[in-house]
Symmetry: none
DNA sequence: CATGAATGAGAGTTCATTCAT
DNA sequence: GATGAATGAACTCTCATTCAT
């Protein structure tokens, strides 16, 4: 029955994900999950012992599914193209209301800081900064981009994205504002806007 | 007793502020406030009907006390000087652990979006963007700064700050990183670093 | 309201005592107490945080009410008379079914060993042994009793009583058996039986 | 499979015995047994329907294994020798922490009084009293011992042992105290101490 | 025989909120 | 105004017991 068990666990994780995306992290109770899954109180505890564990496993799955730079990057992509692809991907993430864990993730991190090893979110962030830095350095090397401080530039992009994410779940944000910011970021790197990024 | 009443209300708000700065928003219970103020359960309800109301009044007071650009700006200050002053002020805000409502504010905004009129935080944000924009435009006008898109630049500064704030309460952040970002931001506006910002 | 509060606490302790005397220690739940007192779930927690605390306070009260040697001992009482008085008192204690905490006390001590200071039961036991020893020594001194080892004799009396108590709550015991044992104990101390002890 | 079945049942009983000796009676859950035996939840129920049934069967086995007077008694043993042998055996029983069911047995008997026929513990007790009485009478007959009331003396020995057992699982007891009591008991029967009983 | 997933009752505990004093 | 005792809803977690496989 291990097979069935695994499927049920996945099922619970999916349903729980919906709950977290609707209610954030702190308000979610085991009862919410139980109701969403239509299983018994005790049944849930067979698979997960707390909302914390549930959430951490959801984050885990989330990251596994994600490829921070979608596979569409070809060998011949220019640095600017890669940056644009990355930003477009991020925009989708920021925009979507339904199914977004953004709020829940923040609430989770406000409350507890996981061990370094388990801290998937942080790992993702750090690796994204590094990759961006590489891309910028590459762009500078072949004359595409202008930038004195690739590391700071990369960090700045990530912080701006973080700011956008937060605003999207607090005071709200428009797609246009995101676009404008992306164009601005690219302009500080010497990339001039020729077309839309939507 | 109106006078006594007012003083008591202020007293409660002060004590409650401490509680919120320690525990964030969602974890705070009316009991926490009662304990912190050393008043009776029923007594608290005479002044405030919920933690929500308490928090909103704290935010209100907070804004009244704040002057986003500290009064130190003289008539002769250059645009760059004003920007630096502003950023230094923000850094203090981000760094301080004690007495910071940052986490509580985020948690509050995750949960409820107040009416526009009451939405002090948003109003502050909007006005800060406008002022920054003005300062940048001024700097561009007198040749101090270089910037094609003052509005986007101003917004970008605020978003970067937002990003820094969030990180300070999630994965943590170092004073150096903040400094580097400030220098980077100024450099994108054509201000070259000649000295420390600490 | 401190007065009312105190009275309510006493009321709860009384009702709880009944519950413990009926159900022993381990089976008693906070809900049992709540039901017995006809108060609300939360109400009980205002006074006691656990069945353990309840039970310990009951033991405390119990001991305060008890005087191990009832006040009836006159100046002229002989050692044998004192012993008989003591044993008769113990018999009452062992016999009574209703209102006896014997079972609960054992269950409590099986589970947790309180700090020495809080360990009222043990203190009582130790002091009883010492007093018995003194009485026996007194009796030996004035030729009433015969005993080479007063300390061991005193301990033996207490252990026999302990044995009787345990049997009374396990396999059961008859009043006659208790009497016979008392007579036997006295006879080992050289006191001959002239009358009944019931 | 009857054979296999029997072996499995015995296996469960052994493991369960360990659990009871560690946790007493009341705290033991079917889950504890399942975990200790490393079998399935349902599997356990095929053999035993409750912890009660388990415990009673353990007691049964226990008694079958026990011979209250170890086989070492020769034809020529004196009454005093037999008594000492018996007491030494009891001391071992009282002292050992590991594998002792003492606490569990008391908890069991506090909760339920089995039918006379099933009441192994009581049967053991009664037969021990009778045997002790016989031994004492024998000792008196051949001048070894002095005792007017052999039945009460036998009962007293058993009650003292009961008291020692209880104390060993409540407030604790030292080996020396046990020795002293044994010497005292023997002395009341006219047996003088010449050597150690350890 | 054997498994182990599933159920649901019930215990412990905390809190917002009310209300007699 | 002010108190704090009282209530009851809601949440977490554990277990005995059942049942499809």
């Amino acid at each position: 029955m291990g097979d069935k068990s695994v499927r049920k666990k996945q099922y619970i994780l999916e349903k729980a994900r919906e709950v977290f995306s609707q209610k954030g992290y702190k308000d979610v109770t085991m009862k919410d999950i139980v109701d969403a899954c239509d299983i018994s109180r005790g049944g849930l505890y067979l698979y997960f012992e707390s909302t914390r564990q549930l959430f951490m496993e959801i984050l885990q799955k989330e990251q596994e599914g994600d490829d921070i730079f979608s596979g569409k990057i070809s060998e011949n992509s220019t640095a600017a193209e890669i940056l644009v692809l990355f930003l477009v991907e991020q925009k989708k993430e920021i925009i979507r209301k339904r199914n977004s864990l953004t709020k829940a993730i923040y609430e989770f991190y406000f409350q507890e800081r996981p061990e370094k090893k388990e801290d998937i979110y942080r790992q993702d962030y750090d690796s994204a900064v590094k990759i961006l830095q590489k891309v910028i350095e590459m762009g500078v090397a072949n004359g595409e981009l202008t930038c004195d401080k690739p590391e700071e530039a990369a960090t700045n992009i990530m912080l701006t994205l973080e700011g956008l994410k937060v605003q999207s779940v607090t005071i709200g944000i428009s797609a246009e504002l995101i676009d404008k910011q992306f164009i601005y970021i690219l302009s500080t790197l010497g990339v001039e806007d020729e077309s839309d990024n939507a």
